[in-house]
């Protein structure tokens, strides 16, 4: 997936959001750190270009909610980054944004984290790439691209804001 296709996928998702939600007044975008955050910002920009509405956008760090955090007896801890949700999520529709949907464990953690901020009316999930292999009953509402993979392969999403280029790369594992 190159930059052009990525931007078309995001534009399509923006149109789907408008189609499914009839207006944007109750909607907010929350990106999961790291790469969900710039994706959420891009969607907010695209929605603004189409509709003129400003959609509140936040960033969520799920590290402290991970289910594998204290399972390793020894070793370094994942770096905790800032969560910034500068609006109330109560009674809003929250669009959760991540780059890759894989086992579903990140999303499980994100759902737990969001509930600690309030009681949203609904939560919908947006992912750029769905690579399959779910380990939890979780499904995306908006998908940029379905990319069937084997467990040995790895998916790298690179974004201009973080990595200097827009691309999705499928790598063969060892």
């Amino acid at each position: 997936m190159d930059g052009d296709r990525m931007s078309r996928a995001l534009t399509r998702i923006a149109h789907e959001i408008l189609e499914r939600n009839r207006g944007l007044d109750e909607i907010a975008l929350v990106g999961i750190r790291t790469r969900g955050v710039p994706l959420a910002r891009r969607l907010a920009r695209t929605l603004h270009d189409i509709n003129g509405d400003d959609v509140p956008t936040g960033a969520l760090d799920i590290t402290l909610y991970r289910d594998d955090l204290m399972r390793h007896a020894v070793g370094p801890q994942p770096v905790v980054r800032r969560t910034e949700i500068p609006f109330s999520i109560d009674d809003r529709k929250i669009l959760l944004v991540d780059d890759v949907l894989y086992t579903g464990r990140t999303i499980r953690a994100a759902l737990d984290a969001l509930i600690d901020f309030g009681r949203p009316r609904a939560i919908q999930l947006i992912v750029l790439v769905d690579r399959g292999h779910r380990e939890l009953p979780i499904k995306a509402d908006y998908v940029g691209k379905n990319l069937p993979t084997s467990l040995k392969q790895s998916i790298q999403v690179r974004l201009q804001e973080i990595d200097g280029a827009d691309e999705v790369i499928l790598e063969e594992g060892a």
Binding site: L64, Y65, M70, Q77, P78, V79, T106, F117
Partner: protein, 321 residues
């Protein structure tokens, strides 16, 4: 979860002091605390991170701020906590401490937070003990989480630590806050001035990496941060100062003395404050004062320390078997 992720760790599995921490480790703790501070602003001020972990707070010296702060930090991370306050000074040093800890160890806590009147008590515990030890103040030696929360507060206001002039004024001899702060600020590249009566200045103080002076005016001149230390009546078993009134007139921080500091200088105090002894109420409650922010930041910094050490808490147990 994501395949490429940043991880970080502290070299030691205990936090016994600032001594031994590198600049990168201090920055890691402060950066983690930034994320932790946000949790305190949420509707539900709790994350599930330390579920099933047990933390024992063992306080052999009176403490309100530090103990409460650790307890709140532990609860916000969902740890099971237990606080033991043994406010007695008649305990003999090594024997009773080791006995107490052996009993606690039988209940397999993951971390022990300890305050003790004897310098080096936390180090002793770290050698005897399987749990991760966090020093919450040992005698006149170190109080690392206080220095970390001070640094966090300074960084929030000044955006940096390097290159700042920090004046620390008061009872230099008995202060573990001073020692930890000097070690931390030196490591991070700040310029530290220490000021107090000659009777309360440790011997060989100039080798400690500070500029020592008995003149408050000189210490405060152009300072970005003015940190006041408490006159520790309980540790003074001699005549160090002629009278409280004379001390205030020579070393107390007044609005007049603060005029010499940088225009945007902040005033700090680790608490508990002796109003009218080391600090005038007008300054303590004035616009430059960040004293209550220090208390609020203490929780975030202690959450960061607990989180970073918890990844290593089982190492000792593994060694045993």
């Amino acid at each position: 979860m994501s395949t490429t992720e940043a991880t970080a760790t502290l070299t030691s599995r205990h936090l016994l002091g600032i001594a031994g921490l590198e600049a990168g480790e201090i920055t890691l703790i402060l950066d983690t605390a930034v994320a932790m501070k946000e949790i305190g602003r949420r509707a539900i001020k709790k994350v599930p991170t330390l579920r099933g972990r047990t933390v024992v707070n063992l306080f052999f010296e009176p403490s309100t701020r530090t103990r409460t702060s650790f307890e709140i930090a532990e609860k916000r991370l969902s740890a099971d906590t237990l606080s033991i306050a043994t406010a007695t000074s008649s305990v003999t040093k090594g024997e009773s401490l080791i006995d107490t800890v052996r009993n606690l160890e039988a209940m397999a806590p993951d971390m022990i937070v300890m305050r003790h009147a004897s310098s080096g008590a936390a180090h002793l515990l770290a050698r005897t003990c399987r749990s991760a030890i966090i020093n919450a103040g040992d005698g006149m030696h170190e109080h690392p989480t206080q220095a970390l929360l001070d640094a966090f507060t300074i960084r929030e206001h000044k955006g940096r630590l390097a290159g700042l002039k920090v004046a620390i004024v008061g009872d230099l001899l008995h202060s573990r806050v001073l020692r930890s702060n000097v070690l931390l600020l030196n490591t991070m590249g700040a310029e530290v001035w220490a000021c107090g009566p000659a009777t309360l200045m440790p011997a060989g103080f100039d080798r400690f990496g500070v500029r020592a002076t008995t003149s408050v005016a000189e210490a405060v001149e152009g300072a970005d941060v003015v940190m006041m230390l408490r006159i520790q009546h309980e540790r003074m078993h001699g005549h160090f100062i002629p009278s409280v009134r004379e001390y205030f007139s020579l070393f107390g921080l007044t609005r007049d003395r603060m005029r010499r500091a940088a225009p945007d200088a902040i005033v700090m105090h680790p608490g508990p404050m002796n109003r009218g002894v080391e600090i005038d109420s007008e300054v303590a409650d004035g616009p430059c004062s960040v004293i209550l922010e220090q208390v609020a930041n203490g929780v975030a910094v202690r959450m960061a320390v607990l989180y970073l050490l918890s990844g290593r808490a089982d190492e000792g147990v593994l060694d045993e078997h």
